[in-house]
Symmetry: C2
Subunit: 366 residues, 2 copies
Amino acid sequence: MPCKLQSTPKNDGFRMPGEFEPHKGCWMIWPERTDNWRLGAKPAQKAFVKVAETIAKYEDVTMCVSQNQFLAAREALDPKVRVIEMSSDDSWMRDVGPSFVINDQGQVRGVDWRFNAWGGLVDGLYFPWDKDDQVAKKVCELEGVDYYSLEDFILEGGSIHTDGDGTAIATEACLLDESRNPHMTKEEIEATLKAYMGVEKVLWLPHGIYLDETNEHVDNIVHYCAPGVLTLAWTDDESDPQYTMSKAAYDYLSNERDAKGRKLEIHKLHIPNEVRITKEESEGVDSVDGTLPRVEGDRQAASYANFYIANKAVILPLFGDEVHDKLAMETLQNIFPDRTVEGIYAREIILGGGNIHCITQQQPLG
Amino acid sequence: MPCKLQSTPKNDGFRMPGEFEPHKGCWMIWPERTDNWRLGAKPAQKAFVKVAETIAKYEDVTMCVSQNQFLAAREALDPKVRVIEMSSDDSWMRDVGPSFVINDQGQVRGVDWRFNAWGGLVDGLYFPWDKDDQVAKKVCELEGVDYYSLEDFILEGGSIHTDGDGTAIATEACLLDESRNPHMTKEEIEATLKAYMGVEKVLWLPHGIYLDETNEHVDNIVHYCAPGVLTLAWTDDESDPQYTMSKAAYDYLSNERDAKGRKLEIHKLHIPNEVRITKEESEGVDSVDGTLPRVEGDRQAASYANFYIANKAVILPLFGDEVHDKLAMETLQNIFPDRTVEGIYAREIILGGGNIHCITQQQPLG
């Protein structure tokens, strides 16, 4: 049964597997806060239902729901999606859930990072975040999985990626921001990632996606598809602020090797045409002091890299941009010939500040 | 994954097993309401910890805890007890949890009765009870167990017992009370029990324990120990109002046969000396309009029959009454020679209106 482990995953022979490795299932959280999701979160809930039911075609899905919304969520979701009660402050399971690690014997454990709503009192997106900070523990308890609790290290699951084979990737913009772990040097942060992700090398991108309110999470700009193989959010438009950010990532990755000495194969995923909040969308969100406002005209950090790899499938956000949606579908189908690429129109998710990868968390098969 | 089944357990070949049959584990709920449990429920929580940790020596235990108390309960309980978040209105898992049924292939399903806080607006013990009424569904969802939902039939798990072999037992005082299912005749209620417990015969005791605020639940006066074998709460004191109640049960059971035609073996469990609420105990409980008050001097419905049968053990409430505690321990050890009888001082539980059987719910091994 769950207990706080005193060692580290690396010491104990555990590593965080790649998302493309076999899953036991997927965890999600039901959206409901009306100061982030428009119209009482009803449009977002519909999109989350679509994501959950699509993933459930390929692996088990558990939806965590507050007491208030429990019966409504149970009614809205197909019976094959498990619905359980869990409190949270919003619905970003990637960031608040545990990072799972695994050893060679197939034992699974959890890593319970501390969470401060993407920046705490410096530039966090809402206050308080105490319920979010308990989600990782609760998931591990539910699964009967032992877990490592870091008492003094802030990290969101979406700010790291791994190939499961010795290499992690993150952005300096996020992990080195003063709003996360200002008491630590880059070297100390890197050492912590190595110890708790079970990796030997960390690749550091300077930036993520332009205007990404998470301080530019790595999971919105790149995605590991296999050891040595990455997708990278890209734009050909040199006048777009995203261009220099993606170009810097591309140049860096082109000249780096991973922990195993591999050169990296980089697949560009051109970002969609600009997604901006409409007047109607803005007006559907409660304005609350202390929560990031959703202002008409604000550009959203829309990126196809924010997909989710399920067993035998890839769940890809689409934006109603015919050209780039199609291109992203094709690129991913080429990278994953043995998986079904499922595109889901995800405007209602990006309006809340993230996308399909942000609202999911895989649990590896033990 | 869970879904509402339209048939009945009996139609589908399912039966409710005896409590003495093998368990997968045990479910409990953390006490916290300060208008029922004295001193912020802290003394009761200690007693619940003792019960949970004792049962956990023999089978898996899951403690369901509100968001507010989650971290406190996790700290208070041994790591071998699983702690999960679940809202409720109080802590009586026997009455609000699912009744599990099983078929010959070892498949397990749940029965989700409706719950109205032991009497609803007629003589219920608190208001509201909506969270309690969702507990059975939530447990089934968590376990991935399909369940039958009765939309229009009020029943608490503590108001029924079964031998798992065709016979159920209940009290007329409770099941026929106008506060439960006044729209149904006794015959209709009996037919519902037969259909959802998978039994052929219902034994009807007239009464339960004197002053039992549940309208005299059967689980406080008798307990099936094996097919054909029952314990019965008893008193030799003919001046005690309990005497005529227990005597009526004894006479009835002595002259009845079960569904398989067996005569019943009845073991008397003499009740403890009177347990009355002290001034100090009464003063530790919040006085709240709409919740049953805990008044100094009130006699509690203390009974040794309210034990829990775990795998290889019997968990027995004790009351600090040396003579009767010892007698109950010995009686049960004789009935269960292959199980360890674990006595637990349970005054803090009976002060809340029930005992060890009321706060537990077994899940059969599938």
